[in-house]
Structures are given as C-alpha cells and as structure tokens.
Assembly symmetry: C2
Homo-oligomer: 645 residues x 2
C-alpha cells in the first residue's frame, strides 16, 4: 500500500498519543512493568485473579525462557498481538529504532513460543496441551492466532521482518492442517470470530488462496447441523478455567444458530457478530461469493438502521455484551463496547473495498469521531470498555445492573481487549482515507494528509476537520493524470459547495460520491465546503428511549451535555426547538482544542404535569464533543436531551 | 380479636378466589398433586432442579413417613407454612370441615417432623444435620421457623388446634436455647428477617415476654462487630446447595452493614429490609424501645418518600431484588416483588397499631389495591413475582437484563414465596380495617364489613369501594356507646364531604383522621363521600424515569394503559394536560367489574424534534386498573404516560 502521511491536527494528536503514551504504557502493562489498577469490565469489584497482565510472561513460559504457570484470561496472548499491530502501524508512520528493536524482540519471543507445527496459544501450551482445539467455542485459540496473523502481516509490511510473516503463515498452516472438510479434520470454526478476517488478509498478502478457502469453509460451516460446537461441548472436559462450566451460551450468542447466510438480524455478542461480518465481506470479495456478500450487507443494514446508537455504538445490552432487538437502544444500560465500534470501522472499510458507497463512509466516520475514540481518555492512558450515552454516577455506584457503566476511564481491564484494539485502529487511520478501483480514487475521510497513488498522482488534503468543513484538495503529478476522484459527500451535509480551480461547481452525488473526472496536475485545486451548522438529530420513534429527545451533532461529531458545564440533574434540562445553536472554539477546557456548542435552554423548576413547561432559570446549555466526556470531574453525562416547544 | 365479616364485593371476590382457587391450587402444588409448569423468577430458563414443589414430601421424609432426599430450595418448608396461614384466616372467615381436616393433618405432619428439641427445617434434617444453625446468613432456618410460628398462631386462633401453637412454642424455645447473649449461645440473627416479627406475635399470644426479648436481642445484635455472619461464613463448610459458594453477599444486602438503629436508608434485599422493619416496630411497641421505633419510622419515611413506586412497589433493581438509591425508580427494569408489597402492608399495620396516622393507612391502601394484588391473575391461579410499571414483551423476550419482567403470570415459581404470601394477606384483609386504642376506634380502610368491638359497639360499613367513594357507616349497640370513631380521610381525596344523621358536617382532620366523638347507637348514621374524580399524579422530578409523565389514579387505584385497549407502541401515546378523564363502569372486559377511565389522547405521528407535537390520529386512551393488567392477550403495558400541553 502506498504511504499516506497524515498531517491532520486532530488525528496527529491521537496518533501521537498512541505513539508516545499508549504504546509505552500498554507495553508496561503487558510486560508487568507497571503497577496499574486493573478493573474488570462488568463489575466494580476487581477480579482477584487478574491483578496483573502477565501476557509477555505467558509467552516466555511457553517459549521455555521462564518458568511458572499461565495467568490471566484465555485470550491474554491477543493483548500482545494487538499491541504489536499498533506498533507496526506506528513504525510505518515514523521510524523508531528503539521501539522496533523491542518489537523485534517480541517477534523473536513469539517465534520461540510457537510450536514446530505452528500452534501457539500459551494457555493450552502451559496448562492443557491435551485439550488443544477440543473446545473452540470457548477457547479463543483461533481468535488469538487470528490476532497474531493480523499483527504479523502488519509488522512485516512496516518493517520487512520476515520472521513476523513466517510465524503467521505457520499458524495458518497449522490451523489448515486441523480444520477443514476432509475426514479426520475438525469441521469447525472459531468461537470468537476473528480468524476468518485474518486468514483473508493473509491470502491477500501471500497470494495463497487456500487461506481464503479455509476462511470460507469456516464461514460456510458455521451454524450448520450437526452442530460442531454442540458436539465439542458434549465431549469437553472442562477445567476450572472454564467460563461456561454452567453450560454453553445460547447458539445465537456465538452466531451459531443458523448458517451465516440465513441470519437476517445481527445477534449475540456484538464484537463476535461484527468481526464475523468483516470476515464475510473480505472472503466474499476474494472468492466472488455473492450470497455471502448479500448476507453481510443485509446484516449491515440491520445494524446501522436498527441497532446502532447515534455515536456508532453497538451492543444494546450488558448481558452477553450483545445485540438485542430492533430499535432497542437504551442510553444508560447499553454496552457499546469500544471493540465493537472498532469492528464497525473495520467492517465499513471492507465494504468500501468491495463496493464503494457513501453510506459506508458515513458510518466509518461516525465510528472514528465518536464511538471508538470515546474509549480513550485524552491522556491516552485510561480507557472505557463500555461507552454509555447517559450516565448517572450514583446509579453506576449503587445499582449493580449499571455497574458496568463506568463514570471514569479505568487504567486497564482484566479483559483488556479494547485499549490495544483502539491503538491499532488509530495508528492505522491513514489506511481508511482512500480506496481505489481501476479508474477511480475514492476519498472517504476528510483527514488532512498527503497520499501518493500508483497512477502517479499525489493528493493533499488540507483543513482542520472535524472542526472546520472547509477542505482544500491539491495535487501533484509528474505529468497530468486522467482519472476520477470520487469524494464522499456526507449525508449530514445539507448545503455543500465546492470550487474547482476557483470556479464554483455544482455538486451531484451518486451512491454518496461527488465524482470529478478530469486531468489532475499541480494546477488543479478543489475546495470543498461542508455544512458545519450544528444540527439536531431525532431518533426513529420506535427507539423508546429517545422519544421527545434530540441529540446535537456538528459535522461528524456527536455532542453531549456534561455536569461539569451544566450542573447536576441533566435530565431537568431541555433544549427548545427554536433555540439557536452557537459554536465556540474552545482551546482551554481540554488538552486539545474542540468546538463547543451552546444554546439557551430550560431547566425544570419542579414537578410538572406537562413536561418542562416551567423554567426556574434559563440556563445556557453547553454541549461538548462526546469523545471528550469524562476528562474532568466525574459527573453526569447525556447525549439525548429533552426537546421542548 | 373480634370477628369482622367482610361484605365488600371487591374483597369478597378476592377472598373467594383465595378460598376456592388459590388454597386448593396451592395445595395441589406443594403436595405435588398438580402437574404445573414451574417458572424461575429471574430467568426465562426454568431451573432444571426445581421441577416440582416437594414441600409436603420434604416434611414427610423428615417425619420418617417417607423416604427420599430433600428437594427444592432451602426455604421450601415456608411454602407449606404460608399456605397453612392462609387456610387459617379462611377458616376463621368461613368454616370448612374438609379443609380443616386437611390442615389438621398438615399440623400433625409438622409435629411429627419436628425434632424433640423443637427444631424443624427439613433441609438440614434430611441433608445436613451437622450444619444446623452453622450458616444462618444463608440457611433460612430461622426464616422458615418464623413462618411456621406465624401460621401456628393463626391456625390456633382460627380453629383452637392446640398442637398448632405447641409446635410454634417449641420452635421458639429451641431458637431461644441456641441464640442469645449468654456464653455458649450463638450471638446471631436471621439471614432473612422474619423470625423477629413472628416472635413478637408469639409474645402477644402467649404473654411470654422472653420471645420479644429474644427478638429484641436479634435486632440489637444485627450489624454489630465482630460480625456474626462474617464469623459463621468464615467457618462454614459449604455444600453444593449453597447460593453463595462464590462469596457472601454484601452486608448491605443482608441489612448487616451497621446496627439497625444506624440505618438511615432502606438498603439491600427489599423483602428482608421490610420484614426487618415489621419486627422492629412490633418489638419496639412491646418493649417500649423508642430508638428502635424511631429508626423504623425513619426508614419508613425513606422508603415511602424516596424509594416506593406509585403502585406501592419497592425494590428498584433485579440485582439482589433490592433497594438502590433515593429517587431511583426505573419503570421497566425494577423488581417490585409481590412479597415486598405484602411486607409493606404488614409494616403499615404495625405502625398503625403503634401510632395511628393517616399516612400509614394511605400506604396500606396503596399496597392493597395495587402492588399486592397485581401479583395474582384474576383466575387466582397465575402469579407475578415481579410487578413492572412498563412492559415491552419483546424486551422481556430478547434482552436478558429484562427477562425477570414477565408479560404473563406464570403458574408457579421455583422460588414460590409470593403466591402464598399474597393468599395469607388477602385472607386476613379483615384484620387491617380497624385498630383500637383505649378511647378510639380507628378506621383505616373502607372495606364493606361488619365488626363487633369489645366495647359493645358494632360498626357496619356499606359501599362499593374502591369504585364508589360513597360510604355509609351504621351502628348497633345494646346501649349507646360513648367513644371516638376516627376515620382516615385519604390524602388523595381533595373534596370530602360527610353527614351525620342526615346533616352535613364539616370534616376536620388531625394526623389524617376525622374524629367523631359521640354516643353511637342504632340511630347513628354517618355518610362519607370521598372524592373519586380521576386525577393525574406527577412524580418527584428527581425520579428521572417519570420526567414529563403522569400516572392516572382514581381513589386508591392506580391505572395503566394496556396494548389490548390502546394498540401497540404505548410510548407513542400522550395525555394532554387539559384532556378530561372520564369514568365508565365496565362489567364485561374482566371477570370482575371495574371502573375504567378514558381520555382524548395523542399518538405520535413520526419522528419529532419536539415531543409529541404532531398527531396522526387522536385516539381515545383507555386506562384500566393496574391490578387487572395481563389478564388478556399479552402485550405492552405502562403506568406512566407522557403528558403534553
């Protein structure tokens, strides 16, 4: 892939956080160098068993370089792999010899821990070698190796480290030797989907179609009868480490109820569901499987039209971290795992690679500016697993059914999937700006950047997005390049204008893109002016939780009310339908500049038979970007605000 | 206690259900004669282990009259005792030789199962005799024996069966021999409060103050350090039957965090909390313990002012079936266990016996006409454990965090505390109409009835309450009786009028009572006219869930919208502030006549920036009594309705 240099202040800030804070910090956690308070994701009571990460140590023990027992969750290895993947993207962006040396060492450690046949899962190597691949619905072996394959590909691409890719190939070959339609192989598929998308990436990188065929086999096999998971579960000898000693979860939780092509509703554990879709789209593209793609697109529609929050969050219930049913989007009990929003970004990208449509970019952008980065504090060292849309600190403290809704971002989690997932997404955000077809360059994101394309054209985007909607596209080329540049015009931009070489041009869109077909060279200049007027968003009325409420957005950014600005009892505030929304550039409140929005509002005076008719005071409501919440004194927060006439 | 004959159509109907349906039905369940689908209370998945009741069989095994293993919950015995108590009140009301013979047989069985020292708990007798009283925070031994003591007292009073009382006395003596301040005794108290209130009743019946002293000791000891529960838990050898193998619950769950006099907030498991208060008030009255009474009254205020639903339901979270925090009253995730509302009625009665105040009667009435009887279908054979204020059947089916919110009443429960608790309350409702002091007869409820008092006066109340607010009090006496009749004037009755012997008289109230001091005889006639205009109730604005909403009440009855009358999407309906509320007598919809309320309403047309401003149609909203919901086609229900201008 051609190199993209990100110059955008917004993302440069986040990428700097990843490079300077998250990567060193996460290393100190996974290598047990830091004394970090580890929080469990679902409970205010830390699990005594997860007091430190031990993830690197598990690899050392498996490699014979240390002694001791395995420690942590079954998927502890994946924390290392996701860290490594984030490192890879960071090194691709900006060389760092010391970091590369450290990562090379981790690659060598992983190689040492890998068994001769390619198998690598430290839990089973240390604790239960006799149970390898015997209970994959639960075991996360395929999930962990999938994450390594992604990391190995990225690290090889960034640094040329051949060992990184060799490990991945050996893993995939090991899995290929054990799983497949042939007699004597396991006719199975991952408990936590992830390997499918990793195998598809490996097929792209190596050109070996057997990896997409293996992924396709796993996708085809999933949910069929006789059911593989049920068979393994029946035969399984559980250890004390089992989550599911009390019984396997429902097949729907594991997306194993029916074959994937028969799913018409996103169901079960949200991250599993969306990772599965990422793999489905990628494999469908590679194998030309139209029915697989159709199923994935149907589920994309279900999610984005009926099961997604305005922030891009998915997973409406904490029970199973799962999808529930259409239009069920409660704001204060939801899950909205950071990983699930990352997964939605991955899925949008796969769809854009398959079939460019503006709607995919619209959701990609919704995730990138809202539901993903809300998972990280502005210090880069504290993280949300759960991203609520309404928070009452007293409820989080005193109602156990809301204890998963944290009011401040913990330093780390016993189940630490989210922080490194977000790190790898942010570190690779440059890869989401464009996709290409034979005759068209598609521009999905308005991230300030310079990118050189294979056709000889270099495109530079300048601007201060998302705070400004004014963007300038300039070009460089040895000689003029005749091509089509298709720029996504966001659905939210009501009044978009543009100029080409200083002349106003009308914008027509098709599939969400404005297509400019011409000769591009250094004399070409396009300006694009997106409509950044703050706006009210109204939910589908079938979403009961949002009835009578609005959320406020500006550009791609979702806003919220926070107690720090608006005082307590946020539910007592309302926003009149006619109240003007005013923007201010705020460079002092947070460690990064943001645009805030204010509006004259109402505050409930007391009990009212009709809603909000009386006003004790007429406060100014201050809305801040949702991603920036919980960076000040802990307090209430809400995205959806009562509207009044 | 003098006999009260209930003539009231409303309560006669319920009492007939208890006599003719609930008691035979519940007998068939506890004696395993019926093949009933047993539902667990918290989960849509039945617990495989509780497929039938086995409660009588457990007693037979403990008595040596049958062989086999114990089966069911630890507190299975209590289902028999509560059934027996309901039988007692029913026999007191109307003799039934066959039923009495059956109940006499159960008493004999219980006597046979009781050990020579008075101990009786079939779980420990059958399974673990070595662990008697060794882990009382969890074991329910004291809870079960408490329930027997209540039943024995009631059965003895109703039938004169001496054995019934002897068993109770032996149990209390056994507990007295094991618990107390003396060296060598256990310095403990019940895990599930109940015994305290039973011991207080036994002290009243026997005159033996040692029982109130034992109860007082247990109340005084609770929550002190070193903590008894913690000490026992540390030493406990758990069996596979333990709920709490994973660790004891928080001390607050068990009302064991601080001494009871230091509690300023109702906390933990709601039924435990309120049963504890019932015992506190009764014991405080018996022992003249002012600080104990003050603590109970403070907690009553906390509950009724800050933690009680409009229906009288308490217990805002399903996690631990517990209280949460002030003004936290979500309508669709709450617990509101039927038993907890029964407990609130018991508590109100104890407070009325101690210190007559209208507010206690107001809450008593709220419980009796709403949150208690909503626990039973109009057929008397289906029951709610959880009494929601808003129901969406799809959410109950598809969101596991709402699976405890049933849409239809199950036939029975694995944990079957509620159905027999409601039966004994309804069967004894005659005991809640009056209390007496030396010079005053207090009338708390407007239940049509005739009661003969010790002073020679007989009072008859005629009316058709709660459907009509017109009540007539007539009197009979051998010779005129000079006394004070104090009639509670409900706080909700805005315009109350009355006549004495045909002459309109002004009503003045003190502590919620209208006091009439005079000579009463057969020539005396009082008419009372309560204001039965339907009214809107507005919640405290700190109750976020009810912001912008109203509930509709008429007299003591809370109303609700049901899908059967109003179509789907109940949250789309709103009630204009100015809309008149009209009443209709409806004798056809349900098996009992009810008064329904209609009003011109609005239905949301579609997405709206401001709430409910557009109306696709102007439907007539039909409100039915809350207690009658879920007796037709399953569907949505809600008590709180959006108000609009």
């Amino acid at each position: 892939m051609s190199k993209t240099t990100v110059t955008d202040p917004f993302w440069q800030g986040y990428r700097q956080l990843v490079r300077e804070r998250m990567i060193p910090y996460q290393w100190s956690v996974i290598s047990d160098e830091a004394d970090v308070h580890i929080e469990t994701e679902n409970d205010n009571t830390p699990i005594a068993a997860i007091e430190h990460s031990h993830a690197i140590q598990n690899l050392k023990i498996a490699a014979g370089q240390a002694t001791g027992d395995f420690y942590g969750f079954w998927f502890q290895d994946s924390d290392v792999y996701k860290w490594l993947e984030a490192v890879a993207y960071t090194l691709a962006d900006e060389p760092d010899a010391a970091l590369q040396a450290k990562a090379d060492g981790v690659i060598a450690l992983i190689a040492a821990a890998q068994e001769p046949d390619g198998y690598l899962d430290t839990y089973f190597q240390i604790r239960a070698p006799q149970r390898k691949f015997q209970h994959v619905s639960e075991s996360h072996e395929l999930y962990c190796m999938g994450h390594y394959i992604e990391a190995g590909i990225a690290y090889h691409a960034a640094t040329g480290n051949e060992q990184a890719l060799t490990i991945a190939v050996k893993m995939a070959d090991c899995i290929d030797a054990h799983f497949g339609p042939e007699a004597g192989k396991l006719h199975g598929y991952p408990g936590h989907p992830e390997l499918e998308l990793a195998l598809a990436k490996l097929a792209d990188v190596t050109g070996a179609t057997k990896y997409s065929q293996l992924a396709k086999y796993m996708l085809d096999q999933r949910g069929t009868q006789p059911n593989f998971f049920a068979q393994q579960a029946k035969a399984a000898t559980h250890s004390g480490d089992s989550y599911w000693a009390g019984g396997e979860p429902a097949a729907a939780y594991l997306q194993n109820r029916v074959p994937v092509r028969d799913l018409d509703h996103a169901e079960g554990h949200a991250v599993r569901m969306v990772y599965l879709l990422v793999g489905m789209v990628h494999v469908a593209r590679q194998t030309g499987d139209a029915s697989l793609l159709d199923a994935a697109k149907r589920l994309w529609q279900d999610i984005t039209q009926k099961q997604m929050y305005v922030t891009g969050g998915v997973g409406a219930t904490s029970a199973g971290e799962a999808f529930t049913f259409d239009y069920d989007l409660p704001n204060d009990t939801m899950y909205c795992e950071t990983c699930a929003s990352c997964a939605m970004a991955f899925l949008a990208k796969q769809l854009l690679l398959t079939e460019p449509k503006g709607e995919y970019g619209d959701v990609l952008e919704r995730e990138l500016y809202n539901g993903t980065i809300s998972g990280m504090a502005l210090d880069g060292e504290h993280f949300f697993y759960v991203n609520p849309l309404a928070v009452n600190p007293e409820a989080s403290a005193k109602d156990p059914t809301k204890s998963h809704v944290k009011v401040t971002r913990p330093a780390w989690f016993g189940c630490a999937c989210c922080p490194p997932n977000l790190a790898r997404l942010v570190a690779s955000v440059d890869q989401y700006i464009y996709t290409e077809s034979a005759d068209t360059i598609y521009n999905h994101l308005f991230i300030g950047s310079t990118r050189q394309f294979a056709n000889g054209l270099t495109i530079t985007i300048d601007g201060n997005y998302p705070w400004s909607g004014d963007l300038t596209y300039t070009f460089a080329a040895e000689q003029p390049v005749a091509t089509t540049l298709a720029i996504r015009i966001p659905a939210w931009s009501q009044h978009t204008t543009a100029t080409i070489n200083g002349t106003a041009v009308p914008i027509q869109t098709e599939d969400g893109f404005w297509r400019i077909t011409r000769q591009f060279d250094a004399t070409t200049k396009i300006t694009l002016h997106l409509d950044m007027a703050p706006r009210r968003v109204v939910a589908d009325p079938r979403i009961t939780a949002d009835l009578g409420k609005v959320s406020v957005m500006r550009g791609p950014v979702v806003y919220c009310l926070e107690q720090a600005d608006n005082g307590p009892h946020l539910p007592w505030l309302s926003l009149p339908t006619s109240a003007p929304l005013t923007t201010q550039v705020d460079t002092t409140t947070f460690s990064v500049p943001v645009t805030t929005i204010t509006a004259p509002g109402n505050r409930l005076a007391g009990p009212q038979a009709a809603p909000y008719t009386a006003t004790a005071s007429a406060p100014t409501l201050t809305f801040i970007p949702y991603f920036a919440w919980a960076n000040r004194t802990p307090g209430e927060m809400q995205v959806w605000v009562t509207a009044n006439a």
